[in-house]
Amino acid sequence: MSDTLKILLILITLIYLFVIIKAVKKRKMHINYSIFWIFTGVVLIVSILIPNFIENISNFLGFEKTSNMVFCIAIFILFYLVLNLTNIVSKQYQQIVKLIQEVSILKADSNKEDNNENK
């Protein structure tokens, strides 16, 4: 890897980290979910700075090609993330259903009381 490419990649990763930290600071992203993304950014910077970092791990694990390992890990992580998101969505769905039901019952009750008072 040439030095120019290295500097460019590090710059992009830094921007990436900056965007995430800013989102957390503006409360756009929940801090729980930012941990994963910040961690990814740090790993990226480390693998750019330390020469042959990824290659060494790949050789150690016995992958024929370094790119295979990168794709493999990326796919696994993405699978995990999507699974996790499905769980979160399901949980939120249940919470929303409960909210709609309780609010609707409360509203119906208060309407009835209003009607009775008007009589």
Binding site: V97, Q101, V103, S104, A108
Partner: protein, 237 residues
């Protein structure tokens, strides 16, 4: 005994008034509650204009969420029996007493109105629908060891125990067969009573033709997964 009739209604502006009037004609002392499931037509207006007892869901939840709202209401208001009754005029009000009979005698906790026990009902649904019902029925027999001839029937009644269970937990999308498994898991006594059903007066059923395959897969999966937890609980005991 306080009895509540739960009427889930989604876009039933043409039927809902007739259904409620029939209930009042049948028995003045019966309480009913219409759950307007975020209808896009004038169902809400019809309910308000005619002063029907109604809960208006602030957003559409689907049949499961609507029915559960009724059970929650029944639980809060301390009703002894809750009856599910369709808002589309499919169910015959004259069978309310048949369906409540065994519950009142405390022989069962939950009673399902079935079209297939005997020849009470002349309307037995289409052929493909009947095949689907047969399959679900035999799956219930296989995995839960319970004989239900009409597992998709939405004409059902439950006592206090059932009201409490359903107000806490009720399946969402296609809830009828799933909820039976849920009740079996909680050792609820279930039986069936013969009822008559009419063809839909107007409006569309919630199960469209192209969705039926998905429906079958979804329901089968629910029955199998739920019965798996059942065997675990039994082992735990």
């Amino acid at each position: 005994m306080k009895v509540l009739i739960i009427i889930p209604a989604y876009n039933e502006e043409e039927n809902i008034l007739g259904v409620c009037n029939n209930i009042k004609k049948y028995d003045e002392n019966l309480d009913y509650i219409v759950i307007n499931d975020g209808s896009t037509d004038d169902t809400l207006k019809v309910c308000k204009d005619n002063k029907l007892n109604c809960i208006n869901l602030i957003s559409n939840l689907g049949i499961g969420g609507a029915v559960q709202t009724g059970y929650k209401y029944a639980y809060e208001k301390d009703y002894d029996i809750a009856i599910q009754f369709d808002g589309d005029g499919q169910h015959d009000i004259n069978y309310i007493h048949t369906i409540c009979e065994k519950i009142k005698k405390n022989e069962v906790d939950f009673c399902i109105g079935s079209r297939f026990i005997d020849n009470t009902s002349s309307f037995k649904s289409t052929f493909s629908r009947r095949v689907g019902i047969k399959i679900i029925s035999s799956m219930l027999k296989m995995f839960c060891n319970i004989k239900i001839t009409d597992p998709t029937s939405g004409f059902r009644a439950g006592n206090k125990k059932v009201i409490e269970l359903f107000s806490k937990c009720y399946p969402t999308d296609y809830p009828e067969p799933e909820s039976i498994v849920f009740l079996v898991n909680n050792s609820i006594r279930i039986s069936e009573a013969p009822v008559s059903m009419n063809e839909r007066q107007s409006g569309k059923s919630s199960i469209y033709a192209w969705k039926s395959v998905y429906y079958m897969i979804r329901v089968s999966l629910a029955i199998i997964i739920d019965s798996l937890t059942l065997s675990k609980i039994r082992r735990g005991k």
